[in-house]
Symmetry: D2
Subunit: 358 residues, 4 copies
Amino acid sequence: MKTKSRFLRAPVEPFVVLPDAAAGDLLARMERISFQGRNLAIARRIWEKMLGDDCTIFFGMAGALSAGGLRMIVAYLIAHRYIDCLVSTGANLYHDLHETRGRHHYLGSPREDDAALQAEHIDRVYDTYAREDEFCDNDEWIAAFALTLEPRPHTSREFIYKLGEYLWKATGQEGILTAAYKANVPIFCPAIADSSIGMGLSQARHREPTAGQIDVIGDIVESANLVIRHPRTASVVLGGGTPKNFINQASVQAEFFDDRIGGHRYALQIVTDVPHFGGASGSSLEEARSWGKLATDAEQVTVQSDATIALPLLVSALAGSARDTMARRKPMQFDVSGPTMAANGRPFPHARFEARQR
Amino acid sequence: MKTKSRFLRAPVEPFVVLPDAAAGDLLARMERISFQGRNLAIARRIWEKMLGDDCTIFFGMAGALSAGGLRMIVAYLIAHRYIDCLVSTGANLYHDLHETRGRHHYLGSPREDDAALQAEHIDRVYDTYAREDEFCDNDEWIAAFALTLEPRPHTSREFIYKLGEYLWKATGQEGILTAAYKANVPIFCPAIADSSIGMGLSQARHREPTAGQIDVIGDIVESANLVIRHPRTASVVLGGGTPKNFINQASVQAEFFDDRIGGHRYALQIVTDVPHFGGASGSSLEEARSWGKLATDAEQVTVQSDATIALPLLVSALAGSARDTMARRKPMQFDVSGPTMAANGRPFPHARFEARQR
Amino acid sequence: MKTKSRFLRAPVEPFVVLPDAAAGDLLARMERISFQGRNLAIARRIWEKMLGDDCTIFFGMAGALSAGGLRMIVAYLIAHRYIDCLVSTGANLYHDLHETRGRHHYLGSPREDDAALQAEHIDRVYDTYAREDEFCDNDEWIAAFALTLEPRPHTSREFIYKLGEYLWKATGQEGILTAAYKANVPIFCPAIADSSIGMGLSQARHREPTAGQIDVIGDIVESANLVIRHPRTASVVLGGGTPKNFINQASVQAEFFDDRIGGHRYALQIVTDVPHFGGASGSSLEEARSWGKLATDAEQVTVQSDATIALPLLVSALAGSARDTMARRKPMQFDVSGPTMAANGRPFPHARFEARQR
Amino acid sequence: MKTKSRFLRAPVEPFVVLPDAAAGDLLARMERISFQGRNLAIARRIWEKMLGDDCTIFFGMAGALSAGGLRMIVAYLIAHRYIDCLVSTGANLYHDLHETRGRHHYLGSPREDDAALQAEHIDRVYDTYAREDEFCDNDEWIAAFALTLEPRPHTSREFIYKLGEYLWKATGQEGILTAAYKANVPIFCPAIADSSIGMGLSQARHREPTAGQIDVIGDIVESANLVIRHPRTASVVLGGGTPKNFINQASVQAEFFDDRIGGHRYALQIVTDVPHFGGASGSSLEEARSWGKLATDAEQVTVQSDATIALPLLVSALAGSARDTMARRKPMQFDVSGPTMAANGRPFPHARFEARQR
């Protein structure tokens, strides 16, 4: 009865309960089960491979994950260089700033009476609350900072670096922005105008018409040059939105100027959106191949899960199992402090793509 | 600026990475983050409370979780009496039997060519494969077993007990069915006709017209009597489907005959379906209150996650932190071997609800 | 620049607004757009093909679609023989009975205070309410009906036929059960024990120990014989659950006894669940091919939509465009009134599969 | 038995099939069913109310809805002033430009081999294809256009107006961009840097360092001034992403400078994302109230559906039933052609919020 089939190679091995097992062991045993548990386990292996390969690792972060309690995981990934470049929504950076400034988000309920919250000027993000007056104060703090900058366009990358520096000097507290400042890790925020950081900038503009100039087109040039400089790239994405697309766009735009670029070599995404409605957030990594966003032989995995479950487990495991790999990793060293960015001491060309002849 | 608000009591505490942290510690720290991560952490606390209270804990299991690698977790929950009664789809019991009989499910791909699989008689469940000839052999094995039974109606509970006994004697292997047999834990399978176990029974009928009689209406009586006998109940549900509803139905039906019944005191569900399309699988625990399926003051939580991620983490943590509680727990002792079920030595009335005067 | 590609054959044609366009025209123009709109338009074409071919059309119905206002669409499909066999959850049949008996479901809110509803004994299904006392009265009405039946096992198919007859004689009102009674269309309810109809039957049992015997294994035999008798089949499914699986199981079980059976020739499903968590409700029609549930060359489409949006539009369009096809259609004529079912005058063998030699 | 309850006012009325019913009639009858069908019907009523009230109607559009065949519906809404201001992702505007320039998207399959597509330089968006060489040509066309502009910052609103003008003069074809140009309807594209339009702008920058300056912070000022000028606003949103948030941000930012602003008076969203993962795309309209994005007494509805099903039906019905209302509607007349925008002949203050004293 038992004929061999090329399809039947490795059996599912049921997960056996070990009381209080460690994160790394949990994921090791989840590699042999099915569905999204298996995918999460595969995600750890793929991230380890990225770290062991000579890759620039882009990390995208959408949603409200800073407010939701994941900001110190991202700060850890930056500080220890599990990632090389962050692309984020403004919201995630803003909520990080909020907590780094010593304020809080609060445990709340998704079923609270929103009129009652509104009456107390409390803003709700699903099951999480924040004080509106503190948000207004942040906006003004950002505006005040923006007014200290030279009245010239800044890429979001340069602006956010300086914001991190200002924040570190004001608070000395850990967080995403301050970790990136200290580690010289670039952060891009392509949709900065769609966030409270943008609102702070617009309030600077209100006071001083030459303030608050953000050169988001310059961000496109820089992000593509980052790929051109070192075409071996990888992508780790939480949620979808502008971070996911911007990371892929960097690869596509780079390829336009340099045909050695062939898409990310590794990709992992932790998403809750689905492909069948056609939106970019839920789009599959298979689809990304048709665009050349992803190399056709890339190792990739999609984990369909809320990041607030998947990321704590994944990074706790990775931080254990990737120790030796990390000891050997030599990440690119950036200078992101000025209008012109540099990698390993060599500046990028200013305002143009670092194109090869073609 | 800081006025107090009743809404702002506990701050979100960002999750801090500890390399290779243990499951219990992961969940302890996830209690202070947001979204589904927080809910999964709350699920552990609520399950601990169930175990520390004098509750009958119903456990519902839909989906393809046995094939997907979670069957030994459920066997563990049964053997150690983290649960008192299992309600399952036929598929989960069938796939458990398949592996207990020494066969396997296999790691596969959700993007394989299904015509190629069909040509090799390999059946696919998302990213998991099985051999069709082994499934046919199981069906015949079940038919052969069914022909050994007395030609009278059996509730699914009695039938499955005897199936577990037969399986244990044939294999001596661990699994859901064999664990339940050895622990005398009742299993109900209200939709047995919609499964390969049902197919095996129909093949027994084909050979012998008096074979394969399953009294699913008797299951309703027994499950309600289980609630009437000890009205303090709790519900843990993976997915939705018939298991979720049958567990709630037991409570509603019991209340019809005994007005002391007030719905489950604790409820936790790990689901991926959503409420807004009106189906029972995604229905909220809030909605369950309107029906009296859940006590209005019940502690409850819904975790929106694939069980293959949530359950390994949750049970690994629980098995560590609930040790003392479990040492004190005195679960109800059942006799489920015959047509009439007994709890703590007292048989249930036969074929009628154990009603109080009303 | 324009080289031809086999992939680029038909352009997307943007949908142009025509005020108050008719359903058929809407769907005709949606065939040339993308995503789920296109799939819904394809669903109409596939259903038309089923009707024009010599197929037995199975229709599955899960969810709470009767309570949600779709029961008269299903009654229309039965009365006009757009479908040949209904497989339903008990809930959909029960809520149909509730309204046919002159009671109502009510427009409600998904955000109502469920404790307040509970206090008034109002049961909520997402945004829809019902009176609990009326439900209890239905249960007793069903129990009273069940006590009129001969004390022998009835398949759910025979039981529901007789329930429809009793209901028609009591009310003379249109609905799913009464339409099926009048049209002699079989209804299977494999999970009847997981529904209020089952609760009614259990209350009959409470009064009379020989009452309420449902032979759900007999349903498997009959449903497979329906396929064996006429192996050209099609499947239309709303939601997932037991109806979806039971329809496929009929095909798989039939194939076990007759190797001419090759799976459904056409399949359309309107679902909101997704494949990637491994459950049967969300499983893809591609996956169904690996099992032989679907012919490898079947025409099929999955529409990811709430049926309360998709079905009114789809059936309104179909009822217009399929007029000529329906005039020619000669559906199988059933006798479903007794223990042995017949199709086109030829009874099915009793309690065994109508197997060919093999 | 029948006591009255305030909860039970209007019964569900089952939808009755009328062959080939018109869109308006379909939705009229769907108002009395449940779940998302009811919500879609309510969406039509709410949109009618917006049109009959003296509101500025913001329309947000995310996803890949232009490529997916909905661009001419949006062009219709603009041309006939069912909406007053569009906020869009760059992708939707880019794909509109692609088709207005005479190129196509193509009907494809979500299960095609992406390596094969990649080999032929065909880009896939779920079930829709496009030629990469045509996309590259668009990018260069946009770059060439951008080089014709004065070398100064343009808000995305001004830039897109001029792009629409250039496109209209080049093609004379209908579409979103050209309709907005002709109707002087402002379009904001806050995340323009995350799109192929941004890529075109970066290619202009590559050729000329002073080209491609987009003042996205100016967009914040203008969008808030639009609200301050006429605080009665409404919001219609397809999908989530930056359009959804930017429309709400305009209201929140306006309120910061003018306390008469109290959030949108009407809101309808057609989404597929869900609230429970905390992201903005899926966030509920209830939650929006806590922020003051929505008036606490606003009429609002969320329709959980793919827009490719919901929008064709909704707008076809609305275009029929709102005829009289539209004849009376006097939408605000904009001048969006220059750096300073004007409404009804009165220019907005330049680079500052039109604040009241506070």
